[in-house]
Amino acid sequence: MPQSQALRTGRVLLPAILFSLFATLVVARLVQIQVFQHEQYAAAAHNELEATNTIYAARGSILDRNGHLLATSVETWDLYISAREWRDSLVAAQAANTISIATGLDINSILDSVEGIGFGDVLIARDVPYETGLELIEADVEGLITLRNSARSYPEGDLAASILGIIGTDNSGLAGIELFYEDVLRGEPGRVIYERDTAGDPIPFGLYIAVEAVGGHDIVLTIDRHLQKLAEEALDAAIEAHDAKGGAIIILDPNTGHILAFATSPRLLYSELDLDDPEKVRLLRNVGISDLFEPGSVMKVITAAAAINSGAVNPDTTYIDTGSVIIEDREIKNWQDNIYGEQTMTEVLQRSINTGAVFMAQEVGVLAFHNYLDAFGFGKPTGVDFPGEATGLLRKPGDSDWSAVDLATQSFGQSISVTPLQMVMAVAAAINGGRLLEPRFVRATISPEGVRTEIALVVVGTPIRPDSSAIIREMLGKVVMESGYHPAEPDKYTAGGKSGTANVAVNAVYDDTQIISFVEFAPLDNPEILVFVKIDENQDLLTGTAAAGPIAAALLDATLTYLNVEPDGRRYVEAR
C-alpha cells in the first residue's frame, strides 16, 4: 500500500507566520536585553545582589591611673516594631504584653506608639539591656525587630563624671574626656560588601569583601579614683560646712603635671542628668577649667617668685608697711587695714600683706612683671587635654584701659582672672624647680592589641630658675610651719603653702562676697603633691587660712599616706 503524503495547505501558513513573528520578537528582545542593554542589567543585578553592612567598632574604655574601669561600653538592643505585622490587634496585644513583661515598659505606651501607623518600623525602646534583648529574641515576638547597639556604663557611679563627660545616642562624645579624645576612643568602623540571596542573607562563598572594624583605644587617666573620691567628699563637706556656693579641689603631681584628682562643684552627675533641663546642661562644662575667678593672695606666690628670680629682692629684703599705698589717687590697703611696719619679703607672705606685694611688683618693674605673668601661663590656655578651657583675663601694659593701679592690684591677685587650673600650674612651676608643665588628664592609651603608649611630659617653659624655686619653697614653708600652730600645717608632713581671700565684684562693686582658697604642697624639700582648695562665696566669711587651709592639710596627709610616702612632719616625728 503506497504511503500517503500530507497534502499541502495554505492554512498552515498564517500560524507559521504568526509564530515566526512572535519568535522574532522574542529573539529581538533577548538580543536587546543581553547584548545592547547588557551593562545596564548586569549593573542592576549586581546592585540587587550586593549588600553593604557597617560593622561598628567597639568604643574604648576609660580607666583610672591604676587600671580601674571608670567608663566602658556594653552591648544593648534597640527595639523596633513592624507596624504592618501589628495590624492585627490580638497579635499586637500579645506581643506588646511580652515586651512589657520583659522590659518593664508600659503596655499601653507600646501600643500607642504604633497606633495609626500602617507601614514602617517604629522605635519603642533604646538601649535595652543585653540579656533582656536576648530573651525577647528567643521568645520570637511577632513584629519585633532588634538591632544591636551599645551604651556607656559607669561602674563607679557619679565619680569623676565631670571629667569623663557623656556620649550621645550616636555613641559620640559630647563633653569631657569622651569629647576631647573622641578620635581615640571611637575607633574605625568596618564595612562588609557581600552578595545576598532573596532573603537578604549572605550567599556562602559568594563575593565577600570585608574591612574589619578597628576598635577604639582605651584611655588611662592620670586620675586616681580613691583620691578623686576623697576630693569630691571633702569639697561637698566644705561647701555644706561653710554654707558656700561651690568650689574646686585639685590634687596635682607638680613634677609631671598629672592631675590626680579634680573635684568641682557644681558638677555633672550621671544620676541626675537631664539634657532637657538647661540648668543640668550647664553642668556639662567643668567649672575648674571653664570658669574664671580672681585668685587673691595666692597670686603673691607668683609675685614673690618673679621678684626673687629677677634679683629685685631676696627673702630678707625689708620695706616699711604703713597699711596702705596710693597709686594714681587710688588707695590700696591691707586686709582689715592692718599696719605691720618693717617687714621682710618672707613676712609679706606669712602675713599676706598687700602693700608688700605691691612693693615687690614695683621692684620687678612693669614690663618685667607682666613678662613673668606671661611666663607663668596667665592669660593663655594651659594646654590641658580637656575641652572648653578658658584663657583667663588680665590687662597688660599697652592695653588702652591699663593703668599703674593694675600692676599693684594684680600683684595680690585682683584685676586678674584665672582658672583654678591655671593657678595650680603656676604655683607648681614656682615650687618644682621652675618648670611650667602642661597639665594632663590622660597619661596613656592602650590599643585594641594591648599596646600601651605613654603620653610624654610637656614642659611649656621655665619662668624661674631652680635656685629661685628652692627659695620660694622655703619661704612658703615658713608661712605654714614657722608659727607654733597653723591651721594648714599637715599632721605628718612638712609643707609650704599660701592662702587667698579675694573679694568678688558684684555689679562692679566689691562687697563681702568672697572666694577663699589655699594652695599647699608637701613634702617641703621635695614636693610630691600639690593641693589647691577653693571655696566660693562662703557665707560664714572665714578666711582662706581658716576654712580652706585645714582641708588642704588633711588632703595632703591622706594623699601622701595613700601613696606610701614616709612622713617627715615635725608633729609626726615629735610624736614618735
Binding site: 504511503q3 566602658t72 561602674p155 556562602p204 599616706t561
Partner: protein
C-alpha cells in the same frame, strides 16, 4: 508509524526491541553511571558549601554574642570592685576605716623576691643538636660559588 507497521519484506519478524549487544551496552551503562556521578558531585558539593556557609553565619552570631557577654562580665567585675560597693561591703562585714599607718625603717635588706613557679616560666630555648640539615650544608657549600 507506517514504517513500523510495514517492515521490509524478508526482514526478520519484529514486534520487540533489539536485544542488547553485550559490549556496547556495558560501555553505555558505565558512561551513564559516570555521567550521573559527575552530575551528582557538584550538587553534593554545593549542598555542603551552603551548609558550611550557614554554619559560619551561625558561628559569627555566636562570636558576637560571646563578645557581648565578655563586655558585660567585665562591666560586672568593675562594678563589683567599685569604691561604693567596697565601702558598703566593708561596712556590712564589720570593717572600720584604718588608723594612721606606722612607718618602721630598718637597715636590713629586704627578702629576695619570691621565685616564679616553673610552670609560669617560658620553656628553655631549643638548642640545635648535631650538624645542620643536608640541604643547608649544600646551600652553604654552594654559597661561595655565588
Amino acid at each position: 508509524m507506517a514504517a513500523i507497521n510495514h517492515p521490509y519484506a524478508g526482514s526478520p519478524q519484529s514486534g520487540s526491541l533489539p536485544r542488547p549487544i553485550g559490549d556496547i551496552n556495558r560501555w553505555i551503562v558505565l558512561a551513564v553511571i559516570i555521567a550521573g556521578v559527575s552530575a551528582l558531585f557538584p550538587v553534593l558539593q554545593n549542598s555542603s558549601v551552603t551548609s558550611r556557609g550557614f554554619d559560619l553565619q551561625s558561628i559569627e552570631q555566636e562570636k558576637l554574642a560571646v563578645l557581648g557577654e565578655i563586655s558585660l562580665i567585665e562591666t560586672d567585675v568593675a562594678r563589683l570592685t567599685s569604691l561604693p560597693r567596697i565601702e558598703r561591703r566593708a561596712g556590712e562585714i564589720g570593717l572600720i576605716p584604718s588608723f594612721d599607718p606606722f612607718y618602721v625603717s630598718v637597715d636590713v635588706a629586704g627578702p629576695a623576691p619570691a621565685k616564679i613557679p616553673a610552670e609560669f616560666l617560658p620553656g628553655p630555648a631549643e638548642q640545635s643538636v648535631g650538624s645542620a640539615p643536608w640541604w643547608r650544608s649544600l646551600l652553604d657549600w654552594l654559597a661561595p660559588l655565588n
